[in-house]
Structures are given as structure tokens and as C-alpha cells.
């Protein structure tokens, strides 16, 4: 099993990371990935110039690693690659990449879905939109919170 969790200060190439994971995922029957991109339109429909993701020392990366560790315990996966930008991100740039390899596709699909729902609500970032409205801090949406709640076992 390989687990890669990174915090990136600059742009990264999702296709390269996907190719690398696929190449090392010997015996995997499935490789599933998600790439989150910065949209040029904010939550309120305003045009955006940038998204700023503030992180804090080692705490942000540690929060990401803890979420990934939970995913590895919960799903039958063989390889994990997670990279998340911090700092200033421009429209159309990749913000986050999550890729999972597993023997069977269901675990890979669910693990990617789980990871994104938790990263979107729990990873230690503070997000600010910069656009025609100026600068505005944003928080997880109700939809993000509802999505993350799906994974809480009753």
C-alpha cells in the first residue's frame, strides 16, 4: 500500500499524478480520481479573480493525513494519492486531487467520495474568495455539511 498526502504551494498536474498512481497500483482492478478546480464564479455568483486557501503550520497537513487514515481504515483500498493546494489559486487551476486504487471499483468510488466530503468540511483551511466584490471569507455550504454527514455511522 502507498499513501501520499501533500500540501502544494503551487500548481500541480492531476493527469501526471493519476498516471503515476496507475503505474504503481499493481494488481488493482480499479483506479478512481477526483480533481477539484477553481471556478471563476463564487458562491454568490460574483466573478472571482482568485481563491486563497490559508493553512496553518503542520496542522493543515496533519488534518488531511488524519482524514486519509480514516478512509484507509474504512475502505478496502490499496493506494491513495491526495494533494491539496494552499495559498493563492487562480481560476481553472486544480485545487485538490484525490485518487484511489483498489481491487474492486466500489471501494475506490466510495473512498474518493468520502475523502472529498471530509476534506471539504474538516481539513484545516480558511478559504477566501477574491473578486469584484472584494475579499470574502467563506465556510462550508449546507450541501457540504449534509454530504459529510452521510458517512457518519449510526
Amino acid at each position: 500500500m502507498t499513501i501520499t498526502v501533500e500540501l502544494a504551494a503551487g500548481p500541480f498536474e492531476p493527469a501526471q499524478r493519476m498516471a503515476r498512481l496507475t503505474a504503481i497500483a499493481d494488481g488493482a482492478g480499479a483506479v478512481v480520481s477526483f480533481t477539484g478546480l477553481m471556478r471563476a464564479v463564487g458562491q454568490d455568483g460574483d466573478a472571482l479573480n482568485a481563491l486563497v486557501l490559508e493553512s496553518y503550520r503542520g496542522v493543515t497537513l496533519a488534518s488531511m493525513k488524519a482524514i486519509v487514515a480514516d478512509a484507509v481504515r474504512r475502505f478496502a483500498v490499496s493506494h491513495v494519492d491526495v494533494v491539496h493546494r494552499h495559498g493563492r489559486i487562480l481560476p481553472d487551476e486544480a485545487i485538490v486531487f484525490v485518487a484511489i486504487a483498489s481491487t474492486h471499483r466500489r471501494a475506490a468510488f466510495e473512498a474518493v467520495d468520502y475523502l472529498m466530503d471530509r476534506l471539504k468540511t474538516e481539513a484545516v483551511f480558511w478559504k477566501r474568495e477574491e473578486g469584484e466584490h472584494g475579499s470574502r471569507w467563506i465556510e462550508p455550504t449546507a450541501a457540504d455539511t449534509d454530504d459529510a454527514a452521510r458517512w457518519i455511522k449510526g
Binding site: G36, L53, E54, Y56, R57, G58, V59, A62, M64, H84, I95, V96, L119, K120, T121, E122, A123, V124, F125, W126, K127, W137, I138, E139, P140, D144
Partner: protein, 86 residues
Amino acid sequence: MAGIPLTVDLCGRLAEPYGRSVAIEISVEGLIAGDLVDAIAAAYPALTQMLASGRTKACVNDAIVPFSAKVLPGDVVALFPPVSGG
């Protein structure tokens, strides 16, 4: 006895009124994180409302701690507003 200066990092929107860190004096014995938050709210009034929301967390030496945790001189301390997530 003069207090010992402690720098407290402010993350996210908490940094807007006074910048990314504020200074406060604490005793050599330290204090609990909850009392530190109260002291900062008193010393920096523009933070009072945000810190009173009950949603602030204390981070001491790179670990989020309960408000009952001790903060000592020399600790690396930050206050976190609710996270945005990634």
C-alpha cells in the same frame, strides 16, 4: 512581577482587525486556553464578538486543545475560527 509576552497567531477572519498575530502577557505559571481567549478578547476589542461566538478553537504546539488545556510561556499558540475545509 511583569508578565511574559506570548505571541498568539490569528487564523482566517480573526486576523482581519489586528493582523496575523497579537501579543499578550501571561504569568510564568501560564493559564488555561479559555482564559487566554478571554484575555485576548479583553485586550483586543475588535475580536470580542468573534471570540464570543463559541466557535473558536485553540491550537497549542500544533494540536487543537480543549479550553481547559494549559498554555505556558514559550508555547506556540494560535486561535482558529471555524475552518472552511478545502
